[in-house]
Amino acid sequence: MSGDARNSALTVEGLKVHFGGGRGLLGARPTVHAVDGVSFSVPAGRTFGIVGESGSGKTTTALAVMRLVPLTDGRVTLGDTVVSELEGEALRAARRQFQIVFQDPYSSLDPRKRAGEIVREPLDLMRIGTRAERDAKVAELFGQVGLRPEQRALFPHQFSGGQRQRLGLARALSTEPDLIVCDEPVSALDVAIQAQILNLMARLQRELGLTYLFISHDLGVVQHICDEIAVMYLGQIVEQADRVTLFRDPQHPYTKALLAAVPSVHGARADRRARLRLKGDPPSPVNLPPGCRFASRCPVAEPRCHREAPPLVERGGHRCACWLVGSGEN
C-alpha cells in the first residue's frame, strides 16, 4: 500500500487509535479499539468513502487523519508531508493543506461569531494574506458556496441547516486545502437540502480539484458521491472496491447485509423477507473476539472464523477480509 504514494493525495498506513487503557482508580481501564489497523490511499482529485455503522470507527478515522485525536500507531501522509509525525508549530502550519466539514451544522459553527468571521478564522489564525485580501477571499468563498456576500454579517442561528453547511464548506475551503475530510456532511440535513449540498460538493471538486475523504452511514449518498469505497466494521476495513464493483459484486457478508438493510423505493416489498438479515447489534469495541470481528453476527460463519482473524486480501483492486471469500464457499 505504500508504493503508490506518488499520485495519492492521502495515504493512511496501519492507522490505530485506541482510547482509554492504562490504570484507573479501580484497576486497569478497558481499552477501546476505535480504529485498529486501517490502511488506504486516496488519489488526488478523487473521493474516498468510508461507510459503516456506529462504532465502526469511521469518524475516528476521519478525526485521526485530521490529527484531532491522538494516534496510537500508523502513518498518515498527505502529498509529501508525513502528517502523523508533525507536532506543534509544524502541525499548525501543515493544517492549511487539510480541512474538515462536520456533521452537525448546528454545533460546528461558533454561535458567538459572525458568518464572515467564521469563514475568515483559519485565514486569520494562519496569517494568510493581508486583511484586505482575506476579506476579498471570504466574499469570494461566499459566492462559491452559494451564499450572498452581505450575509457575512449574520450569526449562525440566522441561517438554515443547509446554509450552515455551506458556511462549513466555505470555512474548509478558505485555506485552499488539498484534502477535505467530510464527516457525515449531509446526514443532519433534510433530504431536499442534501441534494443541494452534494451537488455543490461535486461542483467544487470539479472546479478546484479537491480530494475528499467522505465518511457516511448512508450507502445511497456514498454510492452517489464516492469513487472508491471502504466498508468498516469494528475498527477495521472489511471490504474495499470502486463504486461500481462494490455494489454490483459485494463479497463480504457484512457488506451484503448492509446493502440488504437499506430500504428501497423501487417497490421491493415482496422480497424483503428473503434478504439477508443480521441478528443483534454490533459488539462493543472494548471486548473484541479473537477471530473475525463479524463472526458473532455473521449468518455464514464457520468455526475457523471464530478462531482466526481473516486478513484483508486484494484481488484485482477489490479488497475483502473474509475466510469464505475466494475459497468457493461464498
Binding site: 478525526l63 485530521m66 484531532l68 499548525r92 502550519a93 493544517r95 492549511r96 487539510f98 480541512q99 474538515i100 462536520f102 456533521q103 452537525d104 454545533s107 460546528s108 459553527l109 461558533d110 454561535p111 458567538r112 459572525r114 478564522e121 483559519p122 489564525l125 494562519m126 450572498r148 452581505e150 450575509q151 454579517a153 449574520l154 450569526f155 442561528h157 440566522q158 441561517f159 438554515s160 441547516g161 446554509q163 462549513g168 470555512r171 485555506t175
Partner: protein, 304 residues
C-alpha cells in the same frame, strides 16, 4: 405514558430563515448597546446603580458630615431633627455613614468579585480545557479552598496582614473564587467537545485562542450570574468581618453600620434596615445589569 421528549421541536423547525432574509449589518458595539437599552429591567438596574453611585460619591458634597462624629442623641428616628436616616447608637449621622460607607462597600464588592473572577475563571478554564492531571491538580487545589471555613480563613489572612481595606478585599476574593472555578470548568468540559472547537483547532488555533476566544465567550452566561452573586456576597462578607471587628476600624462601610448597630436591632431596627436595604438595592441593580449584559452578548437573543 412517556411524554414526547421535545414537544416544541416542530415549532422551532417551523419557521426557518427564508432564503432571502434581510441582512441588517450594524456595528457590533452599537447593536449590543441597542439590545441592552431595549431590555428595560437592565436599564432600570443601570439607573439604580448610577443613583447609588451618585448618592455615595456626590452626596457628601451636599451633606458634609463626618460619619464618625457624634452629632446628636443616639437612636433618634429617621427624620427627627433633620437627620434623614436618624442616628446610630453613638449618636452618629447614619446618612453620612451610608454615603461614606457606600464608597467602601461598593469598592470592596466589585474588587473582590473581580479578584475571584480572575482566579476562578483561570483555574476553571485551564482545568476544563486541559483535563488529565492538570484538571486533577487544579480541582484538588480548588477543593482545598472550598473545604476551608471561609470566614475563619479570611480572618486568618486579615490577622496576618493587618486589617486594611486592601487585605480585606483580597481575603474576600481569595476565599470566594471556588464557585466560579467549578462553574467555569463544567462549562469548558461541555463546550470543548463541541464541533466548532474542533473546527477552530483544525484551522490551526492555539490553546490560548481556543480558551479565551472560542470557549470562554460561550461559557460566559453562568459565569456572569455567578459574578453577580459574588458582588452581593462580598459586601455581606465585609459586613461580617467588620462585625467581628476585623475590618479596618477607621473606615466606614455598610457592613460596619450593620455590625455596630446589630445589638440594638430590637430598639432601633432602622439603623440595621437602612444599610441592609442599600445592600439589597445594590445587588439587585448589579444582577439586572449582569442579566442585560448577558443577553446583549448573546447573538441569538440579539437579533430576533
Amino acid at each position: 405514558m412517556t411524554k414526547p421528549p421535545d414537544m416544541l421541536a416542530p415549532l422551532d423547525a417551523a419557521p426557518p430563515l427564508a432564503e432571502e432574509a434581510p441582512v441588517r449589518a450594524m456595528h457590533p458595539a452599537r447593536e449590543m448597546a441597542g439590545m441592552f437599552f431595549r431590555n428595560y429591567p437592565a436599564v432600570f438596574g443601570l439607573v439604580l446603580l448610577l443613583a447609588i453611585l451618585a448618592f455615595t460619591f456626590v452626596g457628601p458634597l451636599y451633606h458634609p458630615v463626618d460619619p464618625f462624629e457624634m452629632v446628636w442623641a443616639p437612636f433618634s428616628r429617621p427624620g427627627e431633627e433633620g437627620y434623614l436616616f436618624g442616628t446610630d447608637y453613638l449618636g452618629r449621622d447614619i446618612l453620612a455613614a451610608m454615603m461614606a460607607g457606600g464608597q467602601v462597600s461598593l469598592a470592596i464588592g466589585l474588587a473582590a468579585a473581580v479578584i475571584s473572577l480572575v482566579i476562578g475563571v483561570t483555574v476553571g478554564a485551564f482545568a476544563g480545557y486541559y483535563g488529565g492531571w492538570v484538571e486533577e491538580a487544579l480541582m484538588r487545589f480548588t477543593e482545598f479552598f472550598q473545604v476551608l471555613p471561609t470566614l475563619l480563613f479570611s480572618m486568618v489572612i486579615v490577622a496576618l496582614f493587618g486589617a486594611s481595606l486592601l487585605t480585606v478585599t483580597f481575603a474576600i476574593g481569595v476565599v470566594s473564587w471556588t464557585a466560579v472555578a467549578r462553574v467555569t470548568r463544567s462549562e469548558f468540559l461541555r463546550i470543548r467537545e463541541l464541533e466548532y472547537v474542533a473546527a477552530a483547532r483544525s484551522g490551526s488555533a492555539k490553546d490560548g485562542y481556543l480558551i479565551f476566544r472560542v470557549i470562554l465567550p460561550n461559557a460566559l452566561p453562568p459565569i456572569v450570574v455567578q459574578a453577580n452573586l459574588m458582588v452581593g456576597s462580598a459586601i455581606l462578607f465585609e459586613a461580617a468581618l467588620s462585625f467581628l471587628g476585623l475590618s479596618d476600624p477607621n473606615v466606614m462601610s455598610w457592613g460596619q453600620v450593620i455590625g455596630s448597630n446589630r445589638p440594638y436591632i430590637l430598639d432601633a431596627g432602622f439603623a440595621v434596615a437602612i444599610p441592609g436595604f442599600a445592600i439589597f438595592l445594590t445587588v439587585l441593580a448589579i444582577s439586572l445589569i449582569g442579566d442585560g449584559l448577558n443577553d446583549a452578548l448573546n447573538p441569538k437573543l440579539r437579533q430576533r
